[in-house]
């Protein structure tokens, strides 16, 4: 299981206008619920307290950050960005620790996500940690091998690029768990 930790690097990677967008969206959503409450009553206003207006911005920004990070390494990064946004959406919904708790229709992609190297040893451990045997290849949609292979290649390319070497952001190598589940 991956321990929860704090990393300030995303704050440095963020652009100033992203914080302005979040602030403006938050303020607008709060004003909007106030207007709905005063116009249609407290009950209707309460319904809009859970409007996922902020979530739209958060998921989009997370995707952008991942894509930007990959582009810095001269890689496309679209897939990584999408999966990061999907993980964010999953985290927003599932307050679960193990992917065996996820329903079967939701489990396929969670297995796929937990096999991506970036989250293999870190993020996936918390939400998508699979029980031994549940990360079997059966049931994973076609194309996941290509996705995983591309992710591994891009990871290796990033870590071995020329110039001043950064420490590897995502450790890669033989899995510590022989079952292959994290």
């Amino acid at each position: 299981m991956t321990p929860i930790r704090i990393s300030t690097s995303p704050l440095r990677e963020g652009r100033w206008y992203e914080y302005v967008i979040r602030f403006a969206l938050g303020g607008t959503a709060t004003v909007f619920t106030g207007l709905v409450s005063s116009r249609y009553g407290a009950s209707m206003g309460g319904l809009f307290l859970a409007l996922p207006a902020i979530f739209c911005a958060s998921a989009t920004l997370i995707e952008k950050h991942e894509i930007r990070r990959k582009r810095e390494a001269a890689l496309a990064g679209e897939s990584r960005g999408r999966y990061a946004a999907a993980l964010d959406a999953a985290g927003a919904h599932w307050e679960r620790r193990d992917c065996w708790l996820l329903p079967s229709f939701f489990g396929r992609w969670s297995k796929k996500a937990c096999q991506l190297p970036s989250w293999r040893h870190r993020s996936s451990g918390w939400l998508f940690r699979c029980r031994p045997g549940l990360c079997a290849e059966s049931g994973v949609p076609p194309g996941w091998r290509e996705t995983l292979a591309a992710a591994l290649q891009s990871h290796a390319a990033y870590n071995s690029r020329a110039g001043p070497q950064r420490p590897p952001r995502h450790p890669i190598g033989p899995p510590a768990n022989p079952v292959g589940c994290y």
Partner: protein, 115 residues
């Protein structure tokens, strides 16, 4: 007018604080929990208690439960659209708002909500 300015500022600050919390915390899947943090509710309910009293805030909180369930359904739909339909985050989250509206209003209607 002053009330709405205060709402805007408080809402912006609370939402930004939760967003920063979501940014700095790792793993990402854990940080995603803060995407669904009741940041707008925190600001709005605080103002509601101050201006209208606890009863008003309780009514809002009750209706919010329907919205929160709809938010759960919304998150699942977003995941599916991103992973299976291969949509980008922005169109996926915006399209899913329709689902949120349908589920939220259906639950609200079932619970006997009235305008």
């Amino acid at each position: 007018m002053t009330e709405y300015v205060v709402r805007f500022l408080v809402g912006g600050i609370v939402v930004s604080a939760f967003a920063i919390l979501g940014d700095v915390l790792r793993p990402k899947s854990f940080a995603g929990l803060f995407g669904a943090a009741p940041s707008v509710a925190l600001a709005t309910l605080g103002i509601a208690v101050y201006r209208h009293g606890a009863g008003y805030a309780a009514t809002q909180g009750f209706a919010m439960m329907a919205g929160a369930i709809a938010l759960g359904v919304y998150s699942v739909v977003v995941c599916h659209l991103i992973v299976h339909a291969r949509l980008r985050a922005a169109p996926a989250t915006l399209l899913s708002l329709v689902i949120w509206l349908i589920v939220a209003f259906a639950l609200w209607g079932l619970a006997g909500g009235r305008v």
